[in-house]
Amino acid sequence: MESFLQTLIAGVLLGGLYALIGIGMTLIMGVMKIINLAHGELMMVGMYIAFWMFAKYGIDPYLSVVIASPILFFLGIFIQKFLVNPVLKVDSILPENQVILTVGIGMVLANLATILFTSDYRSTPVSYATKAWYLSDYWNNAPIELSLSFPWTVSFVFAVVITGILWFFLSKTDTGKSIRATAQDLDAALLMGVNVKRMRVVTFGLGAGLVGAAGCLFIPIYYLYPSLGGKFTLIAFVITILGGLGSTIGAIFGGLILGIFESMTATYVGMGWAPVGRFLIFVVALIFLPGGMASLLKKKRMRK
């Protein structure tokens, strides 16, 4: 019971961070109709920004969120404007050549990082890295002992707050509504006066900014090396599929499910099996729930 609850807590905390990574990819997927396979590499860039800010100037990684996100936002805009858009215009034999382009961008970023920063593993040794709250500190005769890691919790809270801000932006502001409208029906959005081209650029920037923030939240609890991007691209991809392509709420649930499932596999099957669990859930989702969480949510809403 104790280890189950502890695993569940760890899973939810990890899931919240995964959700933030997944949402960025999902947003881009919704508006552009392409999977951004450089997503994890963008996160790696965000992590390096947080790392160097910490190593050079001693800036706390959590503060780097406000530095890395804007930088990644503009990097995303640059990628969309000068790399993806020109490729959109080209008639090619490959219909998905923008996806292949993102693979290339990812490789360039990963190799640039290797050349510039070497392939050493790095981390930010923050003072609170091992700090934790224990249930027995607050409840003397607690029947079970649970702990809550300080950096994991802070990262989770940050992820929830950022997701909340994003939700507010997408559902309450005109620009946010325009992004959703563009994802749902591009021509209709154009007729409503939405500058669709600009929305594409803004969305790519937003997706990159979000994953940059996720990078800053990950570095206090993780380690960093140039080729880590591929792993997180895959995670984001699984979440996007699990959530139902293009659905933000679906991505939040997808992230949580993946986080919980991974930490369950790690506890009950073995540490090394967590990636197996990840892809098991991916295959299961593709076979039994091809529409993702979004299709479940929709069914429920229809029944109401």
Partner: protein, 234 residues
């Protein structure tokens, strides 16, 4: 107000509009009628900039608009209610209406216009927080027209508003069109439902195979032998 001058329009190599000219005058209801594939919807898409004419020009209030970026047209005063409604189905009725009023004056008057629109379609007031994907076809069409009205356009273009609706709803939609016109809005309507459209329109053009073959007032065309034989089944 709107002048179409000798436009040719093609989808790739297939030309669908041939040397089409017509004009919409201030305050009138102008109808383009014709069968499937006559080029009616293509004409509206060309006006709103989704398609571009290969030849000819389109003037709105004496300014050429066939070179203007399509997303600027709604601000200039042209609202297009597209065929098959094209709502944002995963947004609520209210959010769809907000999408209709993103720019300029319309944005400032959003709350007031919404009130007017809800008075025109009381059913939408009841449904304002519902996702439009869950509405019936008739209600969806109302949202589509309402979304167009939210832009406070000078010219409202309606593409097949009666498509796929039960006769009683068709009558309701045409009643609304009459009420909008009494407010002084200029309307360009495209329809296959020729009889009701000619009754509602001040003037109409008959399109066949991408060419305009007849023009006249609604009553003139209703009495025209060709129109009667081809579209009214008389």
């Amino acid at each position: 107000m709107l002048a179409i001058k000798n436009i040719d329009v093609s989808y790739g190599d297939v030309q669908v509009i041939w040397d089409l000219s017509f004009e919409v005058r201030q305050g009138e209801v102008l109808a383009l009628v014709g069968a499937n594939g006559a080029g009616k919807s293509t004409t509206l898409k060309t006006i709103s900039g989704i398609l571009r004419p290969k030849r000819g020009e389109i003037l709105f209030e004496n300014q050429p608009i066939h070179t203007v970026e399509p997303f600027r047209l709604i601000e200039m005063g042209i609202a297009h209610v597209p065929e098959a409604r094209r709502l944002f189905v995963e947004m609520t009725v209210e959010e769809n209406l907000d999408m209709g009023s993103l720019k300029g004056e319309a944005r400032k008057d959003r709350a007031a216009t919404k009130e007017i629109v809800f008075n025109l379609f009381p059913r939408l007031r009841e449904r304002q927080y519902q996702l439009t994907g869950t509405l019936s076809g008739g209600e969806q069409q109302m949202v589509a027209i309402a979304r167009g009205l939210m832009a406070k356009p000078k010219l409202l273009m309606l593409d097949e508003p009666s498509l796929g609706l039960a006769p009683i709803l068709v009558r309701e939609i045409f009643n609304v069109i009459n009420r909008i016109r009494q407010e002084g809005m200029t309307i360009l309507i495209v329809e296959q439902n020729v009889k009701q459209t000619l009754a509602a329109a001040d003037r109409a053009y008959v399109l066949e195979n991408g060419r305009s073959i007849l023009e006249g007032s609604g009553t003139e065309l209703s009495n025209n032998p060709h129109v009667q034989a081809a579209y009214l089944g008389v």
